[in-house]
Symmetry: C2
Subunit: 235 residues, 2 copies
DNA sequence: CGTAGTTTTGATGCATGCAAGAAGTCACTC
DNA sequence: GAGTGACTTCTTGCATGCATCAAAACTACG
């Protein structure tokens, strides 16, 4: 095993660490390792055919991102999220996306606007086809486009962290954008774009915040309904 | 040296790592290691009388916090901040503190209000005495009290990261709350508290954002004036 | 004198050994 | 049978060695 590793290191360069972190993050986010599951360094090291050292570093990073909990001298575990945290994260989401929309509106004519318009059209098609998978993907894109269009790298950075923590709760949230809300959600997207077209920062921010808020309300209601049932589906 | 370390480990438990991280962070934030300075693992290891491993972990953490930059296979360096980043961070600060003020206003009667009122009184005294040190400290406290009063742990967490990155730019920013702005700043604090007393979330948020925005404008103007001159003062 | 190729240096990235500690297990006592 | 104590096991935390690689220094050549 040692020789194999050495070889791969020689070939791949030091992309090992970043790759490893990504893999681990994906496994936690997807629920492959469910909340509460232990993540022993040695086990993961063998799993990924590296030594404990890079695994350790990756785990520390994940702890920093809020996905796992390291109990000193005991072990690392996938964090168990609380409902309260979800509410808190949605409050943050609202604020950050509102900021992004406002900044984007201030930027004048930007390519993002075309992308958003097309996104809405596609969303409508997906809604008509009742293609919830495609729809969810488009929603995700819509929000990210606005954030990245804010042209504020620090905002993007913090938003990314936030979304990682929220994506982690996707288990709970996947039931969210259910058909009943899809139409309303699209209308809200449209009004955000309208404000952007009119270069109205305040309007854009308010529209965005209203939208996120509405989604979050639907989300928490959804979570109340069937929270645990969908937990193992993704794995 | 090895035995000494072993001993200390036995005595102190595993508080070593957290302590080390704090020390390193402080050294970077204070400018002891100025922007651009290299941070070789071996050097730091000897400096703190530990091995490279814990140093490495601490450095990775600092990279994650945006304070240092790790160039693979080359080395770690104290990050050189750009002016643009400062603007970006202030935009985020405005948004997050606005959110916090709004949330706090929604919470009804809370002990934080008394703290804030006292803070303003003390600030006025400090202003009359032209005690800029005390005044800066009070401003810091004011803002943190509001954020922590939001009762949103995730907000506090993200705000903390943000402020670390901003504190890092303190070198540039310290010239900010100059006497000319102190009185205006206190008035703005007062209007925030007024809105809080009236349990007016929207008003509180707007007041807070207006205040942060005004500070940030003053800050960037200050930075434009004498940015580099004060750089070594703090070290 | 400038430039390309080569060597040397110095730092990181990873693997591994060892000690310390926490948690669960088992036996022993009352 | 229940509770308490020692013990075993499993895991982390840290130290250190070695291979790798980037960049600087040096040399030779045009």
């Amino acid at each position: 095993m040692q020789e194999v590793t050495q070889l791969r290191k020689g070939i791949q360069g030091s992309a090992t660490q970043a790759t490893l972190l990504d893999k681990l993050r994906k496994l936690v986010l997807s629920g492959e390792y469910p909340p509460g599951a232990p993540l022993p360094e040695l086990f993961l090291a063998e799993e990924f055919e590296v030594s404990r050292t890079p695994v350790r570093e990756a785990l520390k990073q994940l702890e920093n991102e809020g996905l796992v909990e390291i109990r000193p001298k005991v072990g690392t575990f996938v964090r168990i999220p609380t409902r309260r945290e979800i509410v808190e994260l949605f409050q943050l989401k609202e604020s950050l996306e509102g900021l992004a929309a406002g900044l984007l509106a201030r930027r004048g004519p930007v390519p993002e606007l075309e992308i958003l318009k097309r996104n809405i059209e596609e969303s409508e098609r997906a809604e008509r086809r009742a293609d919830t998978g495609k729809y969810a993907e488009l929603v995700h894109e819509f929000h990210w486009t606005i954030v990245q269009g804010s042209d504020n790298s620090k905002l993007v950075e913090h938003y990314g962290r936030l979304m990682n923590q929220l994506a982690y709760h996707r288990i709970v949230l996947e039931t969210v954008e259910r058909p009943a809300r899809m139409r309303a959600s699209i209308r809200e997207h449209q009004s955000v774009v309208d404000a952007l077209l009119e270069k109205d920062p305040v309007g854009a921010e308010l529209a965005m915040r209203g939208h996120v808020n509405a989604s979050s309300l639907a989300a928490s209601r959804g979570a109340d309904a069937g929270s645990v049932t969908g937990a193992e589906k993704e794995a």
